[in-house]
C-alpha cells in the first residue's frame, strides 16, 4: 500500500524511519493504528464522517509533530492523545455553536443521578454483540459531550482522574462527579432500552 513492504518491525523502528522523512514508514504506522484512532474519534464525536475527518487530521498532525515524539509512551498512545485533543476542540466548537444540552443543565441543577434507582440486573445480558454495541452507542449519544468524554477517557483510555482533569481543563472533583453521573445515566438508559426492547 505504501510502496514498500514492511516486515514485523516494531513501531519504534518505523517511527525512527518516519522521523528521517520516510513517508512509507509513516504509512505503515497509519495502517497499523488507523482503526484504533478512528474508533476513539468515533466514541467521542459519534459521527462516522466527522470521525474519519478527525482521525485523518490527527495523522497529518502526527506527521508534523514526529520530531517531538521522544518515545516516552508508545506511538499508539501518543497518536491517541492527539486525536482526543482534536476531538475535544471539535466538540467545544460545536457546543459554542448551539445551546447548552439538557444534560449539562441537569448536572448544574444538581444531583439527578442521586435520585436514580439503582439498576440491579444487567440489562444487556443475553444480547448479541451487534445489538449490545447499538444500545451502548445509543446510550452514549444521550450523554452531553462532557459526560461522554470523561467516560471514554476513563473506560477506554484508562486515564486516571488527574490526567482526565488536565486533558479537559477542569478539577478532579468535576471529573469524579461527571464520571459518576455518566455511569449512572448509562445504567439507567441501558435499563430503559431493555424495557423498550421487551415491549
Amino acid at each position: 500500500m505504501t510502496g514498500k513492504e514492511y516486515g514485523p518491525e516494531n513501531d519504534a523502528a518505523l517511527v525512527r524511519a518516519a522521523q528521517r522523512g520516510d513517508t512509507a514508514a509513516f504509512g505503515e504506522l497509519v495502517v497499523r493504528h488507523r482503526d484504533k484512532i478512528y474508533a476513539r474519534a468515533l466514541s467521542m464525536v459519534r459521527n462516522e464522517e466527522e470521525a474519519v475527518d478527525l482521525s485523518q487530521e490527527a495523522w497529518v498532525k502526527g506527521w508534523q509533530r514526529l520530531p517531538q515524539f521522544l518515545g516516552e509512551s508508545s506511538f499508539g498512545t501518543w497518536m491517541t492523545r492527539i486525536v482526543i485533543n482534536l476531538c475535544l476542540d471539535h466538540l467545544r466548537k460545536q457546543k459554542r455553536q448551539r445551546m447548552e444540552s439538557i444534560e449539562a443543565i441537569d448536572e448544574e441543577s444538581g444531583g439527578v443521578e442521586r435520585q436514580m434507582p439503582v439498576v440491579t440486573v444487567n440489562p444487556t445480558a443475553g444480547l448479541e454483540r451487534s445489538e449490545l454495541r447499538e444500545r451502548i452507542d445509543h446510550a452514549l449519544g444521550q450523554l452531553s459531550f462532557e459526560h461522554r468524554t470523561v467516560l471514554v477517557l476513563h473506560e477506554f483510555e484508562q486515564m486516571e482522574y488527574k490526567e482526565i482533569a488536565k486533558t479537559m481543563g477542569c478539577s478532579i472533583g468535576t471529573v469524579m462527579s461527571r464520571l459518576f453521573y455518566a455511569r449512572r445515566k448509562m445504567a439507567a438508559l441501558l435499563a430503559g432500552l431493555r424495557k423498550e426492547g421487551l415491549r
Binding site: 518516519a18 513517508t23 482503526d35 482534536l86 482522574y161 462527579s177
Partner: protein, 164 residues
C-alpha cells in the same frame, strides 16, 4: 441514604483512586452497607458493559484511499523536508528569538530600574515553568519573561491542542 461524597468515594474505591488507608476503611463500610453494595454492583456492571466497546470498530474507508488522503496532505506542504530537518530549522529560529527576547527584556528592565530608583522592586522566578517576573511598584510596572519552547514533550502537545 448515602450522601454524594460517599458515593464518589465508593466510585474512587472501585477505580483504585483511594489511598491505601482510606480504601481499607471503605472496605469495612462496604461489608456492612447494602446500599453501597448495590450501587457498587451497578457501577461495576456499567464498567463491564463498556469494556471492549471499541474492539472491532473498523475505519469505513479502504486503507489505500485513507492513506492517499493523508499522504496528499503531507506532501502538500511547500518545499517539504524531513520532519527532523524542519524541526532543527525551527529550533534554530526559536533559539535566536529567545536570545533576542532575553536581551530586549534585560534592556527594558535596566531602563525601568534607572528611571524609578525610588520604589522597591521584586523579582520572582518559577523554576517549574521557567517564568521570571520583575515588579517595580513605584513605576507600576511588571515584566514577565517566559522561557520557550516548553521543557517536555507532553507540554508541547497540550500547548498546541488545548483551546480552553
Amino acid at each position: 441514604m448515602m450522601d454524594h461524597d460517599s458515593q464518589l468515594k465508593l466510585q474512587a474505591w472501585l477505580d483504585g483512586e483511594l489511598a491505601a488507608q482510606e480504601a481499607a476503611q471503605f472496605d469495612e463500610r462496604l461489608a456492612k452497607d447494602p446500599e453501597a453494595q448495590a450501587l457498587l454492583g451497578e457501577l461495576k456492571m456499567t464498567r463491564a458493559v463498556l469494556a471492549g466497546f471499541e474492539a472491532g470498530v473498523k475505519l469505513p474507508e479502504p486503507p489505500e484511499f485513507f492513506w492517499s488522503k493523508i499522504r496528499r496532505e503531507i506532501e502538500r506542504e511547500p518545499g517539504r523536508v524531513a520532519p527532523s530537518r524542519r524541526a532543527s530549522l525551527l529550533a534554530g529560529w526559536r533559539r535566536w528569538l529567545a536570545s533576542a527576547g532575553a536581551m530586549a527584556a534585560g534592556m527594558a528592565a535596566v531602563m525601568l530600574i534607572a528611571r524609578s530608583e525610588r520604589g522597591p522592586a521584586t523579582e520572582t522566578s518559577l523554576a517549574d515553568s521557567g517564568a521570571f517576573t520583575y515588579h517595580d511598584f513605584a513605576a507600576r510596572t511588571t515584566l514577565v519573561w517566559l522561557s520557550y519552547p516548553a521543557d517536555n514533550e507532553l507540554a508541547r502537545n497540550d500547548e498546541a491542542d488545548t483551546v480552553e
